[in-house]
């Protein structure tokens, strides 16, 4: 065994661990699923590294299968996520705890403080074919306000 292989294995292990961490920690269903996919990616890296090490195509073939399975899984998972979103209107994975014991404190913070977004004013583009509105930059007290000409 060469250290070359070990380096690749380490990378695969790190990817796997990080994927596990993401799956366990993040509450967004999408991100959790992405982390699961990352775990698969780590495993495939391991397979490919071993395939190179053993100088045959076994690892690569298996990786292809893994890829196939990952694609199927992603399709089904997304279908499920859409359904779940439609039911609870949230992507929070913690919202689905119906099979658990009743909790004294709620998992989903219903009274979570929504930090108010700063009101953003985006510049509006005039639709094509219309005269652009011209409003004075500085509102003077004497000058009458020019009404916009809408066509």
């Amino acid at each position: 065994m060469t250290s070359d292989l070990l380096s690749y294995l380490i990378v695969g292990a790190v990817l796997f661990a990080l994927g596990a961490l993401g799956f366990l920690t993040r509450r967004n269903m999408i991100v959790a699923f992405l982390s699961a996919e990352m775990m698969l990616l780590g495993v495939t890296l391991n397979l490919v590294a071993f395939s190179y090490e053993h100088s045959n195509y076994e690892g690569q073939a298996f990786t292809a299968i893994v890829l196939t399975v990952a694609a199927c899984e992603a399709a089904l998972a997304l279908a499920l996520i859409s359904s779940l979103y439609r039911l609870r209107k949230t992507l929070d994975l913690s919202a689905w705890h119906d099979l658990g014991e009743p909790e004294p404190e709620p998992l989903v913070e219903s009274a979570e403080v929504e930090r108010p977004l700063p009101v953003q004013h985006f510049p509006r583009l005039t639709p094509a074919g219309h005269q652009p509105e011209t409003a004075p930059l500085i509102q003077s007290a004497t000058a009458p306000l020019e009404t916009s000409s809408r066509v």
């Binding site: 596990a20 799956f23 366990l24 994975l93 658990g100 014991e101 998992l107």
Partner: protein, 708 residues
């Protein structure tokens, strides 16, 4: 008479009332209803006839002996006539090791006399009760319980050993509880029933100790084994005296509980809460005499412990005098009669105790006691039934302050009550006179012979004083009730002619009784609604009155009664005590004197009673409040027991219950602790899985490394 026939007949005596009790108890409400009394009266009548047959048998043998004796010149030593005893075998009940208890019957002279008296009075009271309890919703229950009582009393009297006697001793206590608490919805009645039963139990505890000691001392519980005299003992002579003294005292304590002697007498006045027939039967004639019967039966033991006999006499004297003093001031007619019963029972025990004069006087003492019991049964039952008539006609009012002058409207009752009162007071030549006189003779005898002359002098003085008081308070009651202007309480008119025993009848004088102003009527025009009860309530009174007047003279001085009782199997010798004329004269004077004073004070309404009461001052208060003995018992006994019960309650609830609850808290606590693990979140479960995986890998690697 063949053995089988004899057995059957003897078993029929308790068997008929038992059958009646079962029948009426099971089917009274459905089938018999208002005819329940027929079954019971029939059964008791059969028992009575058969019991009289037994008495006849004993009387025949006694007559035979008397004739034989008359032809010889030897003094009467005709004891222990075995042919007077009739046996009926039953079945073996307990057989453990050496102890064999057989349920079997034996009727000897003493039993025969008691049986005859018990069944006869029961019959009359049952007939009376069919009229008194008419219309009561618990009519069948009453007769069932009464039949049960008669059965228990018969079995008690016919028992052959101490265990069977004790079982039926308890049974009569139970029947007393049931019957005193007959109107159990009344809290006072229920409480009185419980009080009676509990105080009985105190005596019964001592009785049980006595039975145990008898078992240890004699090795057997059968009467004929125990009463064989000194050679029956199994203990060495050194322990002998103390042992027999203890046994006798324990037996006597049991008798005190049942026969309401000081200090276990407190239940009897309260037991007047029961219906009047119950008071007449149980608390006058039969149950309370069971104690006297026990002591009389155990006379062969008592003669071996003269100290015990002295104590018996002393307690009897204390009780008699105290009860008489209390009865002087009571306002409730039934209470007066109850205290009178206690007092007369004291007389019986005084008689039994006077055998301390010597072994040879034991049979005479027993004779006197049983004779007094015999006569007392009749005239006390008569008095109670008359009081029942009064109560019935007065609409369940029995407070003497609320009625008077009833002789004009209740003639039958009046004459019955008068006969009973005269007998109780010991008016010369009536039954009470003869029996009391025998007792006085015995007591006087004990002051000459025996070891306790001084004691018996005091006892005799007390007995004599009590006789005077007895006459006085009896006639006080009589005059208050039947003399003076005609007054009736409002309830008498409200209830109409058929005063059904209602639930709120007065049983005892309480200050909260609404003093419905008694209605005074003109003497010459009594209201038509006050009249006697039905025939069932008057004819038994007539029979009893006849007996009260005559029976004493018939069987007393003629020696018939003595002849019957002396056939009691025992190893005792007999020495008779003749009639002493001086004593008879003195007691007659006492009786007449008491009657005269009562007449002077109470025959006409006057202020003499009030003046006497104020003159007596604190003594009047003491007597009226029954010497505060009830309150004393409450403080000395009830409070500590309640305190202990309360502490037990606290312990049970605070410690034991709490311990159990604490144990019960553990599973939910553990559950609560572990529940957050299952929160239904897959990420949580996945977390645990990853941890498990890490640990698993570590373990596998370790194993692998070790193997390498």
């Amino acid at each position: 008479m063949s053995d089988t026939a004899q057995t059957v007949i003897l078993w029929l005596i308790p068997g008929c009332p038992l059958a009646a009790a079962v029948l009426v108890g099971l089917f009274g409400r459905t089938i018999f209803r208002a005819s329940s009394h027929r079954v019971v009266v029939l059964a008791v009548a059969v028992s009575c006839v058969l019991a009289l047959l037994q008495l006849g048998h004993v009387a025949g043998i006694a007559a035979h002996h008397a004739k034989a004796e008359g032809e010889s010149t030897a003094s009467a030593t005709r004891v222990n006539a075995p042919e007077s005893v009739r046996d009926a075998d039953g079945f073996e009940w307990v057989s453990i090791g050496d102890m064999h208890v057989e349920v079997a019957l034996r009727v000897d002279a003493l039993s025969a006399v008691m049986l005859a008296m018990v069944t006869f009075v029961s019959l009359l009271v049952a007939i009376y009760a069919s009229g008194y309890m008419h219309g009561d919703p618990g009519y069948p229950r009453f007769f069932a319980e009464m039949a049960l009582f008669v059965f228990s009393m018969c079995m008690l009297v016919m028992a052959r050993n101490f265990v069977v006697l004790f079982v039926f001793w308890e049974a009569v206590g139970l029947c007393s509880y049931l019957l005193v608490g007959f109107w159990f919805e009344r809290p006072s009645a229920a409480a009185a029933a419980v009080k009676a039963f509990v105080m009985n139990r105190i005596g019964d505890a001592a009785f049980l100790v006595a039975i145990y000691l008898i078992w240890r001392t004699f090795g057997s519980l059968d009467f004929q084994d125990v009463f064989r005299g000194r050679d029956a003992f199994l203990v060495p002579p050194a322990h002998f005296n103390l042992r027999v003294l203890t046994i006798c005292l324990c037996l006597f304590t049991g008798a005190c509980g049942k026969s309401a002697q000081f200090p276990l007498h407190l239940w009897l006045p309260d037991a007047m809460e029961g219906p009047t027939p119950v008071s007449a039967l149980i608390h006058a004639a039969t149950m309370v005499t069971a104690g006297v019967y026990l002591v009389a039966r155990c006379t062969p033991l008592f003669v071996l412990a003269p100290d015990a006999q002295a104590i018996v006499a002393s307690i009897g004297a204390i009780t008699a005098l105290m009860a008489a003093l209390i009865a002087l001031t009571q306002n409730d007619l039934k209470r007066v009669l109850a205290y009178s019963t206690i007092s007369q029972l004291g007389y019986m025990f005084m008689a039994l105790g006077s055998a301390a004069a010597g072994e040879t006087f034991a049979l005479a003492a027993v004779t006197a006691a049983i004779f007094h019991m015999f006569t007392h049964a009749f005239f006390k039952a008569l008095l109670f039934l008359s009081a029942g008539n009064v109560m019935h006609s007065m609409g369940n009012v029995i407070d003497m302050r609320q009625f008077s002058g009833l002789r004009k409207v209740l003639p039958w009752t009046h004459w019955s009550f008068l006969c009973g009162s005269l007998a109780l007071a010991g008016f010369p030549l009536l039954s009470g006179f003869w029996s009391k006189d025998e007792i006085f003779g015995l007591l006087l005898n004990a002051t000459h012979h025996g070891e306790y002359p001084r004691l018996f002098q005091i006892v005799f003085a007390a007995a004599f004083l009590t006789a005077i008081l007895t006459a006085f308070y009896t006639f006080r009651a009589y005059f208050l009730t039947f003399f003076g202007p005609l007054r009736v309480p409002a309830e008498a008119l409200a209830h109409g002619a058929h005063g059904h025993p209602a639930d709120d009848g007065h049983g005892h004088p309480t200050p909260s009784v609404a003093a419905t102003g008694s209605l005074v009527f003109d003497e010459h025009a009594p209201p038509p609604v006050i009249h006697e009860g039905p025939r069932a309530m008057t004819w038994p009174l007539a029979v009893l009155a006849t007996f009260a007047l005559l029976i004493g003279a018939i069987v007393g001085p003629t020696g018939l009664f003595a002849g019957w009782v002396e056939l009691m199997p025992s190893t005792l010798q007999l020495q008779e005590i003749g009639l002493q004329w001086g004593l008879a004269l003195a007691s007659s004077l006492a009786a007449v004197g008491g009657i005269a004073i009562a007449y002077w004070m109470y025959a006409q309404p006057s202020d003499r009673p009030a003046k006497a009461a104020t003159a007596a001052g604190p003594f009047y208060t003491l007597s009226l409040n029954k010497f505060y003995l009830d309150e004393l018992a409450t403080v000395l006994v009830t409070f500590p027991v309640s305190a202990i019960a309360f502490m037990s309650l606290l312990f049970d609830q605070g410690v034991i219950d709490r311990l159990v609850d604490e144990v019960g808290i553990v599973p939910p606590a553990v559950g609560r602790f572990l529940r957050p693990v299952q929160n239904g979140l897959i990420q949580s479960y996945a977390l645990v899985m990853v941890f498990g995986l890490a640990i698993f890998l570590t373990t596998v690697l370790q194993v692998w490394m070790v193997r390498m």
